[in-house]
């Protein structure tokens, strides 16, 4: 049992850090330190292309598709150094983490050639069309319909929470293609070009005033028949396979962002004297402990070699980090006091900590709410009976 990475991996870390720091000090200086996902979209698309050009876009992919065939450890290290260097989040994270791996695993040769090089090059930005107004936690109850009509798929319905759809080029959509089917049966996985008359995107303003999410409406939207991944009716299998790709590569990078947030809370507490309050001190210590345990939980998860076993660290990770971050947001506001409830200027825009307080309410909802997580943990991790399905 060892805490750190190998010497070879540490050399790779240095290589990543050197390149990223040079870029952030050079041509992309203007985007360094941006944390808001919707800020400077055009420059960030350029950044995606810069990453692709230097082969840093999808390092875990095979070289033939524009990757570096990097090991899991190297991917984790790159994600960590990426965040440490203050590089803004990937606007194409859906493309590189979900769409690309899905195409790699389930796509045809033609689809691979069509999409993978462009995703790796930062030229094709993907978003994800899973959730619907009536299919949130119960993702399998999608109603958006797809039908084949003279060699084309025709899609009608509505998706919601399509993060960054307004700056994306393609969307993958889970559609119900078998009339009268229910639940996970009769679904098909389609990839659709967004720039067409049948697709309409409307932003959803969130509680923090930002609009990262969208509603996406499909009215006789079209894509070619061969835009389907897998076979007709295999949509659920593909969608679930896709969600399983996240094997923790981004965890340490994500935690680097959390580190910055906690450091900012600590600095604020020192600056305004809140750090003298014994209760605040206890909560700061708890936050520090929670963050450290996230790191070692992730390392346990990444060190696991037997993937057939239930991995407790992996199964509990989502609810752990989401709940930690929500608590950090509350602690930040208690440190700031009423000063955290006002912002300078006339715009409804918030600094990091008040924004964290607001935004982190979403963390315990998206990607499986805390309640769904607890069901999964009890059912998959502890073998408890499954929740019965209603028939409404």
């Amino acid at each position: 049992m060892k805490l750190g990475f190998s010497a070879e991996d540490e050399l790779f870390r240095q290589e990543c850090a050197d390149w990223l720091n040079a870029e952030m000090a050079g041509a992309f200086k203007d985007i360094k330190g941006i944390t808001k996902l919707t800020a400077s979209p055009e420059r960030r698309k350029e950044w995606e292309q810069r990453l692709g050009e230097a082969k840093w876009g999808c390092i875990g992919w095979p070289e033939v598709w524009g990757g570096r065939n990097a090991t899991l450890a190297q991917q984790v290290i790159f994600a960590e150094e990426y965040a440490r260097a203050g590089v803004p989040g990937r606007v194409n994270h859906i493309g590189i983490e979900l769409a690309g791996p899905t195409i790699l695993a389930f796509g045809s040769e033609a689809q691979k050639q069509r999409f993978l090089p462009d995703i790796a090059a930062g030229k094709t930005i993907f978003c994800q069309g899973f959730s619907e107004p009536g299919a949130g936690s119960d993702l399998a109850s999608v109603r958006t319909k797809g039908r084949l009509e003279s060699g084309e798929w025709v899609v009608n319905g509505q998706k919601i929470w399509t993060s960054l759809a307004h700056i994306s080029d393609w969307i993958f959509v889970v559609t119900r293609t078998e009339e009268g089917s229910k639940g996970p049966k009769g679904l098909t996985f389609l990839m659709m070009e967004i720039d067409q008359p049948g697709i309409d995107i409307r932003g959803i303003t969130q509680i923090n005033g930002d609009a990262e999410f969208n509603e996406t409406f499909f009215t006789d939207a079209r894509c070619p028949a061969d835009s389907m991944i897998g076979a007709v009716g295999e949509g659920w299998k593909i969608a679930m396979g896709l969600l399983a790709f996240e094997r923790g590569v981004s965890t340490l990078g994500q935690q680097m962002g959390f580190r910055n947030e906690l450091d900012e809370v600590i600095a604020a507490a020192k600056a305004n004297g809140a750090a003298r309050d014994p209760l605040i001190r206890q909560r700061l210590a708890k936050a520090e402990i929670g963050l450290r345990l996230m790191r070692y939980g992730a390392l346990r998860m990444l060190s696991a070699t037997d993937h057939s076993k239930i991995d407790g660290a992996a199964l509990t990770y989502k609810i752990q980090w989401a709940t930690w971050r929500r608590s950090l947001g509350e602690l930040a506001m208690d440190v700031l006091g009423q000063g955290g409830e006002v912002t300078e200027g006339n715009e409804y825009e918030w600094d990091t900590l008040p924004n964290l307080f607001l935004y982190s309410r979403a963390d315990t909802i998206y990607g499986g709410t805390n309640q769904i997580q607890r069901n999964l943990i009890a059912e998959r991790g502890l073998g408890m009976p499954r929740e019965p399905r209603g028939d409404v």
Binding site: M1, K2, L3, F5, L72, A73, V76, I266, A269, K270, A275, P278, R281, Q282, L284, A285, K286, E288, I289, G290, R292, L293, Y296, G297, L299, R300, L302, S303, A304, T305, G312, A313, L315, T316, I319, Q320, Q371, Q373, R374, N375, I377, A378, E379, G381, L382, G383, M384, P385, E387, P388
Partner: protein
């Protein structure tokens, strides 16, 4: 990334778990609870037959080598059965202090009998201890298994001594203790003669690190046992025509236990590994492990009683053994608030 057990570590874990599951049975533990909180045959087997007592003590001083990771693996297994053994006071605290801060002569004189289990030592810490030369005056109220000890390792914040339990000036009063598997004694020193350990600072630091990690690992094992036993009950107990584990209110509490336990597991092995590797995170890690694992254990043991309903409140059921051990671990060797305050001092950059 190798933050996972080696094959050897897995084997040690299997051996220890099998040993405690087979031998540290409820009947035997309860017999020990009615006496001085030590299952003597278990202690003898643990020290002599398995030779697990020397783990975490260098081979050069008669131990079995290895480090705190392996010590934690064993403490975790013992904690899962609430084994009635003086491991904490005698091995994790006292033997570690002697092995790290004792002179070569002291190691040779004391370690063999500590590791063989022939001598049981208690750990007496009194920050306000007064020492005139090696004549010690002070007291500690809560010395684990102190009533069974023949030897004490006595520490203040700066000094460390060995004191024989039957030396003049030493009074040991056994206290009726909530956790009967680890009864406390009040130890009073009135001008008792101590033999100073050669390097007290090193002895104290080693004892505290091993002590924090050891109780944290015990807590982890106990918490996991609370969850495992409650999960088994949730499957078999039927009310309203269904297994109670199918109710969401019940399931979610089980899930909450698992969430905390997984973090406690990371905490314990991070801390043990950080000490073994001499990492600069070690100090922070041992404080984090102690308070986090202790709180996890208490939460799980409390849930175990609640989720068992009435049967969980009976003396006959095992739940109270876990519950009482969990409470004791929360307060011994510094309570959670104290450990978190040590972390606050570090992260706020206030350390002297």
């Amino acid at each position: 990334m190798e933050f996972a057990f080696t094959e050897e570590q897995q084997m040690i874990g299997e051996t220890a778990r099998a040993f405690f599951a087979e031998n540290a049975t409820s009947d035997r533990t309860r017999k020990a609870m009615a006496a001085d909180g030590i299952d003597r045959p278990l202690w003898k087997a643990f020290c002599e037959e398995l030779g697990l007592s020397g783990i975490g003590i260098p081979e050069s001083t008669g131990g079995a080598g290895l480090g705190l990771v392996e010590l934690a693996i064993i403490a975790e297994a013992a904690g899962a059965q609430v084994a009635a053994l003086p491991m904490l006071g005698s091995l994790a605290l006292s033997a570690q202090a002697v092995a790290s801060g004792g002179s070569a002569e002291q190691k040779a004189a004391y370690l063999p009998s500590l590791l063989s289990g022939e001598i049981i030592a208690g750990y007496v810490h009194d920050a306000a201890l007064s020492a005139e030369g090696n004549s010690l005056t002070g007291a500690a109220g809560f010395v684990a298994h102190g009533g069974s000890a023949q030897l004490f390792v006595v520490t203040s914040n700066s000094g460390a001594w060995l004191v024989a339990a039957d030396a003049p000036g030493v009074t040991v009063t056994v206290l009726t203790t909530m956790d009967q598997t680890r009864p406390y004694a009040r130890v009073t020193l009135a001008g008792a003669q101590g033999e100073p350990l050669a390097d007290p600072a090193v002895a104290i630091a080693a004892a505290h690190r091993a002590g924090f990690v050891s109780v944290a690992a015990e807590a982890l094992g106990g918490a996991q046992a609370c969850l495992d036993r409650t999960v088994a009950y949730a499957r078999e107990r039927v009310q309203f025509g269904r297994a109670i584990g199918s109710f969401q209110a019940y399931k979610h509490r089980l899930a909450d236990m698992m969430i905390e336990i997984e973090q406690a597991r990371s905490a314990v092995y991070w801390a043990a590994c950080a000490v073994d590797e001499g990492s600069d995170e070690a100090e922070l890690a041992v404080h984090a492990a102690k308070c986090f694992a202790a709180d996890t254990y208490f939460m799980c043991a409390g849930n175990m009683i609640q989720l068992h309903g009435g049967i969980g409140f009976t003396w006959e059921h095992e739940a109270h053994l876990f519950f009482k051990r969990a409470r004791a671990i929360q307060t011994m060797l510094g309570d959670g608030a104290w450990h978190r305050e040590q972390i606050a001092v570090e992260i706020l950059g206030e350390a002297a």
